[in-house]
């Protein structure tokens, strides 16, 4: 009985702390019949600690399609070209054509056809497949170059993004890419992506 009473108290603490029907899920707290330990037995706030602003800032690196998360900075094709030659071409090729398993980055073929499902020989690139421009900044900053991820400054990432977008014929070579202009870049494949319509059951999709 003691366990049950503690469980109820824990449940009350939970409901108060979360303060809203949208987060308080009553079914989570009644699933612990038959004497098993339940979530309600550990009052909220007793395990873990509040994160500091500095901890969050150090790791909060994601960028979304609205541009949320983009840092201050700017980049251009010409500055990006030098950087690409110095740090990227060793794997991706001087013209972003790809080498061995290192992906091709530049190219618009098959242009407006998007026949990737039908033709296994087509090679996906930033220009013909990537649906969001902001993904470029997010990915290059978090993971590239492979041997030294996290080593590029914000301006260096913007420069590389400007270079890759211009080489793919998506922006002009004299365009400046920054917090404001990058999310506004419309990628050629943007409208090709559809949500999952598989449901299980008898249909094969």
């Amino acid at each position: 009985m003691t366990v049950r009473i503690v469980g109820l108290v824990g449940a009350l603490v939970f409901a108060t702390a979360c303060g809203g029907a949208d987060t308080a899920r009553s079914d989570d707290r009644v699933a612990h019949s038959s004497g098993q330990l339940a979530r309600g037995d550990v009052p909220l706030g007793t395990i873990g600690r509040v994160a500091t602003a500095a901890e969050i800032q150090a790791w909060d690196i994601d960028v979304n399609p609205t541009g949320h998360g983009l840092p201050i900075g700017r980049g251009t094709h010409d500055s990006g070209a030098q950087l690409f030659a110095a740090k990227c071409a060793v794997c991706h090729g001087a013209r972003g054509e790809g080498m061995a398993i290192y992906p091709k980055l530049i190219g618009r073929e098959p242009h407006d056809d998007f026949a990737f499902g039908r033709d296994p020989k087509l090679v996906k690139t930033i220009g013909n497949y990537w649906p969001y421009s902001t993904t470029l900044f997010d990915y290059v900053r978090r993971a590239m170059p492979l041997n030294a991820p996290g080593s590029l400054s914000s301006n260096e990432v913007y420069n590389l993004v400007a270079f890759l977008l211009a080489e793919n014929g998506i922006i002009a070579r004299d365009s400046v890419i920054d917090q404001r202009t990058l999310p506004a870049v419309r990628m050629p494949a943007r409208k090709r992506f559809v949500r999952d319509d598989r449901t299980g059951g008898s249909a094969f999709r």
Binding site: T23, R25, V50, W59, C91, G117, P131, A143, N147, G200
Partner: protein, 411 residues
């Protein structure tokens, strides 16, 4: 096999110029491990055996290994053609890394949960282990599993190279829902971002319903702490979802109001279709099965053979597995090994007397939603020959008159 960067290639290409930063952190022991050669007495019943050891090694007479070794961005396939039952040994679990196996000190590990929350919080590994835990048996499968057999179907493919990017075992951890209650999720949080602490900092956006449903922050597999290649000290585990979403070396969960459109949910892990679209956020692994015994390079003799294999579905339990020994013209129910668990490998068995004439053997899984594994022809017509993930069509093996077994339905 298509996407892999070998240590040699990386040494030659990038790391030498930059000082080998990544390579220096790679644990090499697993790749170089060789079973010790035991001296075999003429009659083991006449001499005392060896002493106890801290950790047991596999018998030196056994040779099951993952392949390929030495890859830091690419897969290593589990030898499913040499395994029995349903549980994958931890050291033979498949691997797929995006920037090598991270080395993380458990004393310094922390998981940050923030974003649209009332209280952003940090949990240490000890913290995670203090929460009420759960253990569940589930498969974990890369959605690229099956690409070799679909895009480049050679007769000499092993079951390992066809479907070895799936593994199954007992996961232990804390429900993600428990952690979300600790931080208090704000109204408007509809997705969460999971991010790894490895050099790829791999990130995926997941609908928040999965967090409330059955997502785990797992810290153990098959009764012991996760192995480094399996995400030590803690990883996300999303039952039934493509493995890329079960972020290894998990360091951050961020509650968000829209998907982030990360590289691995746009440029990769999307499914081009014949109608000129690409399916996105195709998380659930559809029902499939494969005969693992007999399979290439086995050689069989006429007489009784146990056809055996694995079936699984990301949508629930396997309801039925049928086997055909005549290329799909006739199908007969196989026996399912109890217990049949939801979203877990299910072993099927089918005793069959082979008459020595060429034959094509196949398996076909049905899950509890009524979903039936499609034929290769239906799959090709629906998904296209260029589609890139979720290859769950019926697999075939051909028994030739000389007893050799090769991949595919071959006349």
């Amino acid at each position: 096999m298509s996407e892999s960067i070998s240590r040699r290639a990386l040494l030659a290409g990038v790391a030498v110029a930059a000082g080998g930063v990544v390579l220096d952190q790679l644990p090499l022991s697993a790749q170089n491990a060789q079973p010790a050669q035991a001296s075999v007495p003429p009659d083991p019943s006449l001499v005392p055996g060896g002493p106890t050891t801290p950790v047991s090694a596999r018998s030196p007479f056994e040779s099951a290994v993952r392949t390929p070794a030495g890859v830091i961005t690419g897969p290593a396939y589990s030898p499913i053609h040499q395994l029995t039952g349903t549980i994958t040994p931890s050291d033979l679990m498949f691997e797929r890394h995006h920037a090598g196996v991270a080395v993380i000190d458990p004393a310094k590990y922390k998981l940050l949960v923030h974003g649209l929350v009332d209280r952003p919080m940090v949990f240490t590994l000890d913290d995670l282990r203090r929460f009420p835990s759960v253990s569940r048996v589930h498969f974990l499968e890369c959605s690229g599993n099956g690409r070799n057999g679909y895009r480049d179907p050679k007769p000499e493919l092993t079951a390992q190279l066809v479907d070895g990017l799936t593994s199954n075992g007992e996961w232990t951890g804390v429900p993600l829902a428990t952690l979300l209650r600790e931080v208090g999720v704000k109204r408007g949080a509809t997705w969460f971002l999971g991010e790894g602490g490895d050099a790829s900092k791999l990130s995926r956006s997941i609908p928040i319903e999965k967090a409330w449903d059955d997502a785990l922050v797992a810290y153990a597999f098959n009764g012991e702490p996760l192995r480094p290649a399996n995400g030590y000290p803690a990883r996300l585990f999303l039952p039934g979802f493509e493995a890329n979403t079960s972020i290894k070396w998990l360091r951050r969960i961020k509650l968000i109001d829209q998907p982030n459109m990360s590289r691995d949910e746009t440029a990769k892990y999307t499914d081009p279709l014949p109608d000129g679209t690409a399916r996105q956020f195709s998380f659930v692994m559809d029902a499939k099965s494969i005969i693992t015994q007999p399979s290439y390079p086995a050689r069989v003799a006429p007489g009784w053979i146990e056809i055996s294999g694995l079936a699984w579905s990301g949508r629930g339990k396997i309801a039925r597995v049928e086997v055909s020994t005549d290329g799909g013209a006739h199908w007969t129910d196989a026996a399912l090994q109890d217990p049949v668990l939801s979203r877990a490998h299910t072993r099927f068995r089918f005793p069959w007397r082979w008459n020595g004439k060429p034959a094509v053997i196949m398996s076909r899984a049905t899950d509890e939603t009524g979903y039936v594994q499609p034929t290769l022809e239906v799959f090709q017509a629906t998904r296209g020959r260029g589609t890139d993930f979720h290859f769950n069509h019926i697999r075939a093996w051909t028994l030739r008159g000389d007893g050799t077994v090769v991949y595919g339905a071959r006349a």
